[in-house]
Each structure stands twice: as C-alpha cells, then as structure tokens.
C-alpha cells in the first residue's frame, strides 16, 4: 500500500476531536503550540445543524430518508446533530458470545459533543479514591484537588448552569445562573423532598451569560440539534473553530488512524491513517501524539500498533490496554401525571433539563446492598412533537378519530421521566480486545467486546426502581409499566409496530441518543419494558445494555504502577514518553458523574503538562 509521508514533523498530532481532542487542541493552540488534528469523520459547519428547524423542514421529518424509523433501523440522525451510531457501514465491531454491548461512535468533527446531553458534573472527592472508601475497584493516582483547578477552568470557559448547594457528592463549581424550574420540575422537587431526597438546579454545559464571544442561551430547547449560537458546549464550535482561528491548528478530516509508528527508542514518530476520501494510507510525523479517539478507539489504536518491540501493542506491557471497560448504569422510569393534564400550556423548552438529583446517600451505605451511587436526571414538559412522540398513547387507547386526538391532547406534556445514572464497578469480565478475524473496510482489525454486569449494578437498578416509583407516585403519577431502557430518550419507546400489533418497537433514533436529557417527547409515558436489555444474570432487572448510555470509559487507565496501568498520573504512557491519552480511556473508575466534564478537565491538565514537558525538552 502506498504511503505518503510528509517531511514536516508536527509538534502535536491529536487523534480525535471530541471533548478530549477539542480541549487539547484549544488549550495548546492558545498556548502557541501548533496542532495537527486528525478526525475520522467529515468537517462540520454551523449550517449542518438543525437547530430551530421544524420537523416539516425535513422531508422525512426525522423518520429517515427511507422511513427507517418504522423498520427498527438507524435513521441516520438527519434531524439532529448526532452523527454516527452503533452501526457504521464498513466499520463493524464484534461482541463475544454471552456478552451484550453496544458501541456508539461519532465520526465527525466534535464527535459526540455535537449532540450529547451536556450534563456537567464534577467527580466528588471520594470518587477519586473508591478502593480506599469501600475496597472495590481501584483508586485514581490523582485526587480531587489535582483536578479541581481544571474543573474551574473548564467551567469558566464553557459556562455551566447550577447553584451552590454544598453537597459532598456533587461538588459546587463556578456556575452561571440556571434557568427557572419548569412546572414538572417543581413537582419532582417537592415529591423528592417528601421522600427525603434533595433535587437541585441542573448542571448543564450551557452558558446563560455572554462568554468569550458566545451569546447567552436563547432557550429554544434544541440543544440536541446543534447550537447555532454556540451557547451550549460542543468541542466543534466552542473549542476547535476558535482554535483554528489562531492559525495554529490544521484539521485533517476523514482521517481514520490505523497505527502509531515507533522508532527503536520506543517513541512514537508518526501516525499512520487511512484517508477515507480515497482509501489511501498516509502518515503524519509527530514529536508527540495525543490519543483522544474515544476510550475504545484509543485502546484499539494502541492494540493495533503491534511490532516486534511491542508484541502486545504499544504502551501495553501491563496487558491492561482494553481492560476495565465501564459504562454507566442506566435505568429510566416515567409516569403520566394527572396533575399536569389540562395545565395551561407554556414554552417549556429551556435548555433541556433544569433540575437534577445528586446522589443523596453517600454517607448511608450501610442501608444499601450495593456500593457507590447514582444521580437522577429529570425529563418532562411540552416537547416539540416529532415522529413517534405519541406512539405510546396511540397504542394504548387505539381507535381513531376525535377520541384518539383528544387522548393525545390530554396526555401531551403530562409525562415525567426519571433516569438513573449510576456507577459501575470495574470488573475482569468487561473489556475489549482485537478480534482475531474481523477487519473493517480499511483493513484495520476491529474490537471485540466482552461485557458483564455484576450484582453491584443490578442491585443499584433495583434501588432506582423502588425510588423512582416512590417519587413518581408521590406526585400522583401513573407508572408506565416497569420503566423503559436506561438509555437517554428511550422513554419514548413504545409498542405497536412490527409484523404483529402490539409488538414492541425500538427506540426512535430521530431525537438522537442524547445521553443526558431524558426528554419525553410529546409527553407520553414509556410503554412497559420496551427496549430493555438483560444479559447474564440480569434477566429480571431492567438494566441498560452495556454501552447504551454511551459513557464507555476505562481501557487505558492511569496509575502509578506501570505493571498494571498503561498511563501515569499525567495521562502519559509509562513506556512511551511522547504518547498521551486525553479521552475517557484514562478513567480508573466511572463515578455517577457523566464523564464529559472530567474528560475536559483531565484533557486540559494533560495539555498543559504536555506543553510544559515540550518546553523543557522532555518530550
């Protein structure tokens, strides 16, 4: 295969442009360091976003150009800012027998930050030392105080809503003013209080005041379709576009990294990539490389960088690359709340969730049969009608004509959804490795996933079930049977399509797999059990499928001991001094805090460390 290698040696080559790669690129560019950024997907522009569009502005209205929605197939997300999915043509992955795992990938500048839920939570002090706390899992090689300054920087830069609450499980940050609570939020907050649970303003990566040339949020509710004013955070328009204006950044789109090339000293000298536009293989030479391709892609790249000197892959003498893969424990339940029926309509859009529930039992583990904890994300309101919005009510009431229409009207906006997002304990049975047989369309060996939830996670979901039911019933809610799949907007899942009436339909893909905002479009409760996955011993517990919450972390973890951790405490490979990892791969645990904020803070710290090491001539 012809290889094109330019003579230029780039100071830093960053692989991947999501939260980690975007942060590294922006921070380095602002420090005057030049960056070559490889992105496996296309470039993106503001005009690619669908914010402010109405469903009738797209011919298929979000059902997919060929109506894929109705056949349980990916719709292509042509009506959201989501790009990619768990199935990408020509880029498969495999799952070991007995495992169940779904791997969502975005191939586009900005990656998943273009559409994600924008939940922005700091890890708590104890989250960095879980093994010390309860003997399970592993401690991070850093403490809260190491990362806190970078959480500060990230919050000042991005803009995060929130309120000062002094809750140990949810460290306060530098917040901008949150939006007022919505009507359903007030019910949730009061119902939680009656159950001894405190609900507070949501912490969302949305600036509600003008910031760095970005106008304040205009509360149109379309965060998941990409923000044309860049008022919410996405790596593309908040970090990479501004960084490009410094003249320090060169973006190479459609560049699928294949392998890291090393010299006899073991240092990375170049990144080999496939130019997807013509299938050719190219190389860029580098002084340092930062992997931010997403946790599993970064692991894959290291494992595929095999040579006689590195038979297990690069930076993998420990054998831990790919190990300790974690996702978030997900479970959702929604209810139709009669108190909301007939309520005077109002514009409830805002910026997604305005309320959330931090973990409230961090000091009461003796009362529980599981370790760690979870937070609750709140959904509801009068969402923009979209395809599938009313499928739940339609299938329940059936019929046709004015009674059907009245039932839809009565139920619109009456649904409240609660989504639990909890901590998974790393285990030996959940990991990814290179599949010995399968290659992608570019000839790159693919990942094979192994996955197993343990009783820790299953018991946590049982606790979510009990808790959510109590809260929803306190407000008079009528529980939709069992609750839906944990994943994001899965509460929209409903029964009724397919070859037989009443057969369960999959989640709609049209809203995008937004991970943080359990919006209930159109306000129907979820139908019972739709889309739930149960693997292993999980048969009776409606836990989310592995990977479904799209919080996969771990796989190239940090640690002080090179024997069992590929990276040191600066996310630098123990064995390869000019190799850094800046996505969620370095995570040692997966606290009940959505990972993006920690990815950004960690990447920021890594970028500063890298720049300083370069200045000193150490790398």
């Amino acid at each position: 295969m012809p290889q094109v290698s330019t003579a230029t040696v780039h100071d830093v080559v960053v692989v991947g442009s999501g939260a980690g790669g975007g942060t590294v690129t922006n921070v380095l560019a602002n420090m005057g360091v030049s960056v070559l950024l490889l992105e496996a997907g296309p470039m993106i522009g503001i005009s690619d976003f669908k914010e402010h569009m109405w469903p009738y502005n797209v011919p298929h209205r979000g059902a997919g150009a060929k109506g894929q929605l109705y056949f349980n197939q990916p719709t292509g997300f042509t009506y959201s800012a989501t790009f990619g999915g768990s199935q990408i043509e020509g880029e498969p992955y495999t799952v070991a027998p007995g495992s169940d795992f779904s791997w969502f990938r975005s191939r586009v500048l900005g990656g998943r930050t273009n559409h994600y839920g924008r939940v922005t939570l700091r890890m708590a002090d104890y989250d960095f030392k879980p093994k010390t706390t309860d003997g399970l899992g592993f401690d991070w090689p850093i403490s809260y105080s190491d990362l806190a300054p970078y959480y500060d920087k990230a919050e000042r830069f991005i803009g995060v809503t929130g309120s000062i609450e002094n809750i140990r499980s949810a460290p306060d940050g530098i917040f901008n003013p949150p939006g007022a609570l919505k009507a359903h939020d007030v019910l949730v907050q009061r119902a939680c209080a009656k159950n001894g649970i405190r609900a507070v303003a949501a912490r969302q990566a949305v600036t509600t005041v003008p910031r760095n040339g970005r106008p304040a949020c205009h509360y149109c509710g379309q965060c998941g379709r990409g923000c044309t004013t860049a008022s919410n955070y996405a790596a593309s328009y908040v970090q990479i576009f501004p960084a490009m204006k410094t003249g320090k950044v060169q973006v190479v789109a459609n560049a699928m990294a294949r392998e890291l090339m090393t010299d006899a000293s073991g240092k990375v000298t170049a990144v080999s990539y496939i130019d997807k536009t013509d299938g050719s293989e190219k190389q860029v030479r580098c002084r340092t490389v930062v992997l931010a391709a997403s946790a599993c892609e970064s692991a894959r790249l290291l494992l595929n960088s095999k040579s006689s000197r590195h038979p297990q892959g690069l930076a993998n003498s420990s054998g831990k690359v790919g190990r300790y893969l974690m996702d978030t424990v997900g479970f959702s339940m929604s209810a139709m709340v009669p108190a909301l029926s007939g309520m005077p309509h109002y514009n409830s859009d805002g910026y997604g969730s305005h309320l959330y529930v931090p973990w409230w039992m961090w000091d009461r583990h003796k009362e529980l049969n599981f370790p760690r904890g979870y937070h609750i994300e709140v959904g509801g309101g009068y969402g923009m009608p979209s395809v599938n919005s009313f499928n739940g009510v339609v299938n329940r009431v059936e019929g046709y004509g004015t009674p059907l229409k009245q039932a839809i009207r009565d139920e619109y906006g009456t649904s409240i959804g609660l989504s639990g997002r909890g901590e998974m304990i790393p285990n030996e049975k959940s990991f990814c490795e290179i599949d010995p047989e399968t290659k992608d369309r570019w000839g790159i060996p693919v990942l094979r996933f192994h996955w197993e939830w343990s009783d820790h996670e299953l018991n946590q979901v049982r606790h979510m079930q009990t808790t959510f039911r109590a809260v929803l019933e306190t407000m008079g809610g009528r529980i939709a049977t069992g609750g839906g799949r944990g994943g994001g907007r899965g509460t929209a899942a409903a029964t009724g399509m397919g070859s037989q009436p009443g057969q369960q339909a999959p989640q709609t893909g049209q809203s995008g797999p937004q991970t943080g905002v359990p919006t209930v479009p159109g306000g129907q409760p979820s139908s019972g059990g739709a889309g739930q996955r149960a693997g292993n011993a999980a048969a009776t517990v409606p836990i989310s499928r592995g990977g479904a919450i799209i919080h996969e972390v771990g796989t190239v973890r940090m640690g002080d001991d090179p024997q069992n951790s590929p990276l040191n405490k600066f996310c630098q490979a123990h064995e390869v001094r000019n190799l850094f990892v800046a996505d969620a791969a370095p995570f040692v645990s997966n606290a009940d805090k959505n990972p993006t904020h920690t990815i950004i803070a960690l990447a920021w710290r890594t970028a500063e460390y890298l720049a300083e090491e370069m200045r000193k001539g150490n790398v």
Binding site: P55, M343, E398, G401
Partner: protein, 197 residues
C-alpha cells in the same frame, strides 16, 4: 435568498437577540432553514408509490384517523397521505405494506358492502374501522387489517403532529429564541394545586 425572506427572519428573531449581538450568526442559519421550509405539504400531490385508487383510499383513512374537528383542519389538510406515499416511494418494504394493506381494506369492504372503501358510506367505513382499530378484535381473518391499521394510524399521527397544522393543534409553544427563561408561574400553581404537593 430573497430580501423578503431575510426580513422575515430578522423579524422573527426580534430585538432580544439583537441586543445580544448574535444576530449575524443566527440569521444566516435561519435563512437556510426558511429556505428548506418552503416546500409545503398542501396543494395537489401526485402519488409516487401508490396508484390513484390506493392513494384516495389512504387519504380517506387518514381523514378518519385525524378528522376535521370543530373546523380545525385534520390529517388531509396536513398532507399526511402525501408524506406516507413519499416515504413508501423510498422504501419498497413500506410500499408493499401499503399496497397489500389497502388491497385488504378494499377486498374486505367489497365482501361486506359490495363496494370499495372510498365508495362505501361513512357508516360502512367506520363500521370496518371499529373492528380493525382495536387489538381486542383479533381473529385470523381480521389480523391483516388490524396490523395494517396500526401502521396507518401511527404514520398518520406522526405526519399530522409533525406538520405545521398539527403543531399548532397540539399547542406546542417552543422552538423559538427567548431573552430569558421565565418561570411558568401559572402552570406551576395549577400543577401544585392539582397534585396536592
């Protein structure tokens, strides 16, 4: 992009956004969106997937599913059948479901009333729908009709409530820029009173 459209955009955005200095960035995008919005769903539509007869039957079914209500327009005005036909023209599996389903409807109506569906009386039409609109009426004979009606009903509801008419009908008030997120005091008072919280 015409100046008129651009002015529409500026008017829509309003003074609140001007104050924030965001207008230039937003307006270009709004123009882009408005241009896409010009393709209306009203007016004559020539079916692409279905025959004229099939299409007429589909239009009548959508009319029965989301009818005109107190002179408020329904699925016909919202172009539901056109949208379904458009998708069916892009998907042979969907087209097959509709051609076979509509054939079943006509055959069943002929068996019952010696007439195709569109020529039957409204009472005869609703008489058939009263059977196939409910899973509880499942029999081997009726099941093809029940399955098909589930498809038509779901897609008609989707088409209607994603149309301009349907969005107005359901009284969705969002998807527009606001200067601030106002506390919905009236709604909160209503919900609290009714919930007893």
């Amino acid at each position: 992009m015409s100046e008129i459209t651009r002015r529409d955009v500026l008017r829509r955005l309003g003074a609140t956004l001007m104050a924030t200095g965001v207008l230039d960035r937003v307006s270009a995008q709004e123009v882009h969106h408005l241009a896409l919005a010009q393709s209306g769903t009203n007016g004559a539509y020539t079916p692409k997937a279905l025959s004229d007869q099939e299409y007429k039957t589909l239009v009548r079914l959508t009319d029965l599913i989301i009818p005109v209500e107190n002179s408020k327009p329904g699925a016909v005005a919202a172009g539901a059948a056109a949208w379904i036909d458009m998708l069916a023209s892009e998907n042979s599996q969907l087209k097959d479901i509709y051609t076979k389903g509509l054939a079943w409807i006509d055959a069943e109506m002929k068996r019952r009333a010696s007439s195709v569906f569109v020529s039957a009386t409204p009472e005869q039409q609703t008489g058939l729908l009263d059977l196939i609109a409910y899973r509880r009426n499942s029999t081997p004979e009726l099941d093809p009709g029940i399955v098909f009606f589930t498809w038509v009903r779901r897609m008609t509801v989707d088409a209607f409530y994603t149309s301009e008419i349907g969005i107005a009908d359901i009284d969705y008030r969002g998807n527009r820029p606001q200067a601030a997120y106002a506390e919905p005091t009236e709604a909160i008072a209503y919900a609290l009173k009714r919930s007893g919280l």
